[in-house]
């Protein structure tokens, strides 16, 4: 689930913060709205991210955050990547 490049970058962006707004995540990752929506849905189905609707400046915004399961899976994945890189040296 996480290893797909865009989803890995989504998790990497969400890991150090509480939540990121959908529009801000588009700018950070440099991908289209539909692509981000698709990847976030996959992560949400896996229980890795939460989506919360909130209102700011009279406009509804979608805030995305990593769940505890998402944190665990992401850290495990990054740890595994570090192991692989370490073995390759």
């Amino acid at each position: 689930v996480i290893h797909a490049p865009v989803r890995l970058r989504i998790c990497a962006a969400l890991e150090p913060v509480r939540e990121i707004e959908f529009g801000a995540l588009i700018n950070l990752l440099g991908i289209s709205k539909s692509a981000l929506s698709k990847h976030v849905s996959v992560l949400a189905d896996a229980g890795y991210v939460t989506q919360r609707r909130g209102v700011r400046d009279t406009r509804q915004r979608l805030w995305i955050g990593l769940t505890d399961t998402g944190h665990t899976a992401y850290r495990g994945h990054v740890a595994a990547l570090h192991q692989i890189v370490g073995r390759g040296k």
């Binding site: 990497a12 962006a13 950070l28 390759g88």
Partner: protein
């Protein structure tokens, strides 16, 4: 919801290209994330993209005025020592409120909600940004005992150090473009 036991984290890395396998107490997560194959080059590229994403979250979206006003706020600290004590305390309190308020406003404008106890910036970046300014701020404040005018150049240096470092790091880190890596990307 899920019980995770980090002590059970295991890696199975015997084949080449290395299977990306980890298993821990949460069997559902382990099942979902186990079984793929990945080369060291691909893993290295993935880690680079992870670092790039973190850096962009930490530094992208800060407006120029944030660094300038926060730098000016920090620069006011040594200058407060030149004022009568009560006025200095009032000034410091006002500046602290303004700096905290501007951080909240900027966070909302950036669309990034950070934790109160930790941020996306790495500790090295936090050290580079704050420590030199704080050291000069303290030196300038205590330097008043040596010469009354010392807090003035200290304030200028604090402003230049903080605003300059903030502006430079924002520009540098924001310039990191999202990276792609050679792999079979999918939306599966």
């Amino acid at each position: 919801m899920f019980q995770v036991n980090w002590k059970n984290l295991e890696f199975f890395l015997d084949d080449d290209p290395t299977p990306l396998r980890f298993r821990h107490g949460n069997s559902r997560v382990a099942d979902m994330e186990t079984g793929g194959s990945i080369s060291a080059a691909e893993a290295s590229a993935a880690l680079a993209s992870v670092r790039g994403s973190r850096a962009r979250v930490a530094w992208t979206g800060y407006p120029r005025w944030y660094w300038l006003t926060t730098g000016a706020g920090f620069a006011a600290m040594p200058l407060a020592t030149l004022l009568p004590t009560w006025l200095g305390v009032v000034l410091i309190a006002l500046v602290a409120v303004l700096v905290a308020r501007s951080a909240v406003v900027v966070g909302r404008a950036r669309g990034v909600c950070e934790h109160w106890n930790r941020a996306a910036m790495r500790w090295q970046e936090v050290t580079l940004l704050y420590v030199p300014a704080v050291v000069v701020m303290m030196a300038g404040s205590f330097g008043k005992e040596i010469a009354w005018w010392l807090p003035i150049p200290a304030a200028v240096i604090v402003f230049v150090l903080f605003a300059g470092t903030g502006l430079m790091l924002t520009r540098k880190r924001s310039a990191l473009r999202p990276t792609t890596r050679p792999t079979t990307d999918s939306t599966r």
